[in-house]
Point group: C2
Chain length 205, copies 2
């Protein structure tokens, strides 16, 4: 194995180990020693790859944000119908595989974003990018969606955040219960022009 | 002033100071010294009232949970129409006054709930109580709500959690943008019997 390949592998092992350590022990509690031990490597190996544990947190933040962005863009590109596309995007953003450690780690991103400048800056950037793409998709769905595009985008981001806390705090196992239910209710307002509601209310009176 | 009254006041000052210190510096970083200083009191005054900073966090958790419960029960008791009641409950749960430090502190509750047993236990209890009341209200709303009562309850909890992260992370100022938009979309599915959607889709085809 070449030296470069070996270094990439070592780095990946450290990042993977840090994901588990941060998710279980919390970012503040975790030490460089904990990460190195969990990766089965020396502290020296850690410092050969990273200067601080914040650097590892930022790398994890990038990985998570890139993964969410890929899911979102895939749904955006794949679905033809504007309403279906928006739904697929909301589902993709809030989908976390069972057993993954991302949800508890996202709680750590949020907590650190309150005071660690770079974490806050990158997290803010990720949300702004997602909001822009979601608003574009919502605008394309036009009158079929109850709400202005920016509002629909904010709502979908909130569905994601609610799913993260629900999974992380163990109110559900592995996957979110709320996100699909919430989206089903939101979707009930999609595909039906607004006037229908008035007619239905009048017919029911 | 009686000794008991004075002690109650001192305790309230410490709890109020801890709310700000935990919200700005983070629970893990904050020290008993920081809290006492912010309250304009001595470390001795702190230890006369609390044994640990976790005790203060638990008192803050109780205050927050009691406040949310009061808002939720008030909306439940006050509104007559079942659909309006559910909407009022969702809005009450997700409402945080501008400038309040609760949203960033709730992120700290979530983060600590992952590893501090008592925080997790009490937070879980609060969510279970709210879910029960919300499911009761959703069941009373009957067919008017798109979704099973438990799902609707989970969705409303997710709206709250999404609002908390949105406000805490400064994607909005003071109040949530997403929660009202999300609720408006959910509410678009309330008050309309489900079959209408099929008819509307058929009519549009």
């Amino acid at each position: 194995m070449h030296r470069m390949e070996k270094r990439t592998l070592t780095r990946a092992r450290l990042v993977e180990a840090a994901l588990n350590v941060f998710a279980f022990e919390g970012y503040e509690h975790a030490t460089v020693d904990d990460i190195a031990r969990a990766a089965g490597l020396s502290k020296g190996a850690f410092y050969f790859n990273f200067n601080t544990k914040e650097e590892v947190l930022l790398e994890l933040l990038s990985r998570w944000a890139d993964e969410r962005s890929s899911l979102l863009h895939a749904a955006f590109a794949f679905e033809r119908d504007a309403g279906t596309r928006l739904r697929a995007m909301a589902e993709a953003l809030a989908a976390y595989r069972g057993g993954t450690n991302w949800p508890p780690l996202v709680l750590e991103f949020w907590s650190q974003a309150l005071r660690a400048g770079e974490v806050g800056r990158r997290l803010g950037q990720a949300y702004r990018d997602w909001r822009k793409l979601l608003a574009t998709a919502a605008a394309e769905a036009g009158d079929a969606v109850a709400g202005r595009p920016g509002q629909v985008a904010d709502a979908i981001l909130a569905i994601h955040d609610g799913a993260v806390s629900e999974i992380a705090l163990g109110r559900t196992r592995g996957t979110t219960r709320a996100a699909p239910a919430l989206w089903a209710m939101v979707a009930a307002g999609i595909g039906r022009p607004a006037p229908l509601r008035v007619e239905a209310a009048a017919a029911g009176a």
